[in-house]
Symmetry: D2
Subunit: 333 residues, 4 copies
């Protein structure tokens, strides 16, 4: 961390500041140039309140030189992390196509869709049992029964499954789930992240609606700092002023994350756009910029889906989407 002192700072003021900083167990190195005096702060700067330091009268500006995330940082872990879910690998060149309905609705539905997406190229089955809904009056998912049905679909197809957790008290129910999803609204539910850090389950961590990529990595860090390094990041659209799409899919997140972290990055074009007609194009675009996986909603009868039907594609559309995505991946090799 670098702190630049204002011109006119007296030696007494400087000493006072240095004493305060050393009190926080930091080493302080002074660089006095003709024009500026710069303090280099070394040690565990992650506890320093950068805004407070900036607000001191004698401080011109403060700048972090190192990123606040450690375990997620590619600088310290140059090799790609590869996540194993069942017999499927994600990251480090391994690509996973994740597909399935927004909500589990019935055994017939989930097993049917599971067989379809497996036949048409999916590697992993998705399906919601606990559904976060803006309204308390909307369908909230089949909950435990939904989880049970999802496991039936896993048994019937052999596909690993991913589903969302909404309350850490339900963790026991997720024992046979292959990847636990943390939804956008819970990206900064820090207590839940820490509890998930104590498991060794793969976690798919969705970027919050208005969170920066650095905040996403800090949330990954919450999980990793408790010991669980099996994290998949997921870009699912951010909130902007544009209303034509539900959210704005920020695909530059893919190459950016690949640059700054070793964790795999999956893209969810269904929730991002909210419109099934846009899903195939955006899935192809995600593959083109290097995503390690794509997660799409597929429903055998979108017009009857209990939630988010507007963004679901049919199995036939999924077949075509999968073909294009695989071809695009070939093209960028």
């Amino acid at each position: 961390m670098i702190a630049v002192l204002k011109r006119g700072t007296t030696p007494e003021q400087t000493e006072h500041l240095i004493a305060w900083l050393k009190n926080m167990k930091l080493d302080v190195h002074i660089s006095s140039g003709q024009e500026v005096t710069v303090l280099g702060l070394v040690g565990d700067t992650s506890r320093v309140d950068i805004e407070l330091l900036s607000s001191l009268e004698i401080i011109e500006s403060v700048k972090r030189v190192s990123e606040p995330y450690k375990q997620a940082n590619r600088k310290f872990h140059p090799n790609d992390t590869v996540i194993q879910a069942g017999n499927v690998k994600i990251g480090g060149g391994h690509f996973a196509m994740i597909a399935g309905p927004c909500s589990v609705e019935s055994e017939e539905q989930i097993v049917g869709v599971a067989k379809d997406v497996k036949n048409f190229g999916a590697d992993i089955l998705r399906g919601g049992a606990f559904k976060p809904r803006t309204s308390p009056y909307a369908f909230q998912g089949l909950k435990e029964e939904g989880l049970r049905l999802l496991l039936e679909a896993k048994k019937a197809t052999g596909l690993p499954i991913i589903t969302e957790i909404m309350n850490i008290r339900a963790l026991d129910l997720f024992e046979d789930v292959d990847i636990i999803q943390v939804g956008a609204r819970n990206m900064q539910n820090f207590d839940m992240l820490q509890e998930l850090g104590k498991t060794n389950k793969p976690i798919l961590l969705k970027r919050g609606l208005a969170n920066t990529l650095q905040e996403l990595l800090m949330s990954a860090e919450y999980i990793m700092s408790e010991g669980n390094e099996n994290i998949i990041l997921c870009e699912r659209g951010i909130r902007t002023y544009e209303t034509y799409t539900r959210n704005t899919l920020d695909l530059s997140a893919v190459p950016v994350l690949h640059e700054i972290t070793h964790l795999p990055v999956v893209v969810d074009p269904s929730h991002a756009t909210g419109k099934s007609a846009l899903v195939p194009s955006m899935a192809a675009a995600a593959a083109a910029c290097g995503a390690d996986g794509i997660m799409v909603e597929v429903h055998n009868n979108p017009a009857c889906a209990l939630c988010d039907g507007a963004q679901s594609i049919t199995p036939a559309q999924f077949l075509e989407l999968n073909r294009t995505v695989r071809a695009v991946r070939e093209a960028i090799q």
Copy 2:
């Protein structure tokens, strides 16, 4: 809910749609004009997926005529809700000044600040025991010990206290807390909201970083639908592209919320701006547009605060802020 059909829709298609809607237990009223055919949907439309309906081929557009929130809706509850916290009232003309440090740090600190802010005009004491921090390596609050010290400060001054809950499993610890705060990051932690709805504690619900006012009311609705109607809404700044302030304080939220809901509205200028120099001006502005309360961070030694010191004002500044806020309230009567 109103659904406008596309021109050229056949009678068969229309009938098919109506059957589908009736299947969702909705009454459907047809208005066929020369130019447009409009379906009026009556019944519990809160379960209708508006995006799905919009995506159907024969639908031109869909519009909700009624708001999706019921219990928070001023239409159905025209009178202002007044919240009672200890001997303090908020809402319906009652104004509360809430002040205290970001974090509880020690008994001396919290009791000292509590006495100061009481003498200088505060009605309620705030102080964080469980602190949501972006980084797992930052100070996370004194937790249970912090709560204990806060209760000491309550005993010493008689001020009701407000403090944040981060995990519903800690609810028992909040028995003697007068107002439980739900932070911005947990505004859509729906499981926690529902649990809080089963208590009868006053809840201060902060608007999420990028949530609309309607979403804020839907989260209030989650609490109210479980039986707890003691809710105070809090505007604390939203995330925008502007970086000079930490967030952008959306003060128009105050008159808007007063128009559409009967719940009281409090403003937190400290977290919104992130800079102590801006807090007094924005507190005065909040009072001028009708806020039912203002919550500010006050610390006896901001430069040593363990978190968010940059946005804390001193007790002396609080004295002046309180004077101005009360004068502004007089002016707008």
Copy 3:
């Protein structure tokens, strides 16, 4: 346009409203259902102030049924527009690779880069002569001399050229320019748009920093309503809260625009990301979701570029980018 009346509206109020609407030369069709009364407004509703209408006491809500853009609307012009610039076509299946430096700096530089990008696959040469810069103290481009040098490069390579206009009074200087660019900051400089509408030059219209896709089309409509239908739309990133990239490239704009308008859509990943390392990935993604062209900044010595060097790639990187983009286009056929 559909206006829904509030329940309890009296027949007198309704008649008064209808008279007012007819006064605006609209036909009004009444659809009275059991639950709602809906007015269908037919005629030139583009002059109706939708916000004013919504604000009337007896109005529940108002909804435009038809888009406010006409000439840019695919509904009325189902076939793709193909733009001809020199011997190059854009749109309707024709793809154009546009490359060149941010600013024209010298004859050697612009002719050198032009030859390189031509050899490496570019169809059109870009280069800035008039440069919009946030600061009045920053390099503002070589202006007329820059235009002259750009024409030299055109002569030397045969590539059609595109360059930005900043002031309509300079229009005469653009006679031999093949495509005139309207920058993001001038997207709603309506007077300039109307003047450009009186020419028959192809216009590349960049989306403003915080403009919706509908506003982009309304600006195209300003040009088209004056007679010039040669418009290329350009997505170049929008402003969001994320600061890692300069702007957030909204690639879903590509399939959305293809759905609602017949005009070709070009993507500029250089300005969107502001970082050369991200340009190749985002160019590939743009191609994958169907862009009709890609515009990238290429400089023979990015570290010496007078402006925007950080986002420029080298000719060698461009060669590789072009190869990938063409392969991706093959893959999505």
Copy 4:
């Protein structure tokens, strides 16, 4: 400007960089600490491309120590600027209430409103003659005739007038206008700003829809660098994801601008909110946080206004608004 070098930078690389920087006519001061090497760059750093410098391989980070605006900077001009428009002063403790219709529609209308707002407390008359409208098909203002009528209203009441310019070629028509308004859409129409800088007219410069406060000051700098220092800044709402209000009024802009610039700051709550019911509250809030003036739309018959009627208040409402605003100003003294 401060540039921090990466660890491991060789002496040769450092010398090469320093030579390059000196070539840009900068003095370079080296501060070599144990942990970091920092270069202090002195001279005209406004021409340095901070993004380019940051992108160099050996650079860890770059930070501007001084603001890029000079003439608008309070550091160099500590005293408040006071603008004189007719016999009215704005800034430095002088407050101006600006009121009038969105558009000039007829002599009767503008003279009538002018008399009303004068009687009810306005200091300056506003009225649009040239109207920027998103749609080319919407009412664009009475243009020259509108200007003529506005001058009639000035003559009839003695109120100074403010109106918007949309095209610099129309500048001659503004000779008797007291304050020329630059609209949000033209905030970065740099050619127009420079031309206005060659006049000595007071300019009211509106913040763009998605522009930062620093960009607003850089646009002021464009005008000032040509010699015209008579600038009033105007906050009129920024674009965010919230749709309940047309824009989000960023009132913290008022104290922030007062801190960093000496120019007066006016707030326009009418355009910001888009809803007349919110205008009085937000006007009071603007006064409470120290605005030097408030600009509101007043129409004698809002329901018939040709544009923006939804946000106009009546003269009677203006009378009450003015009373409250003046009382709030008293309260904050």
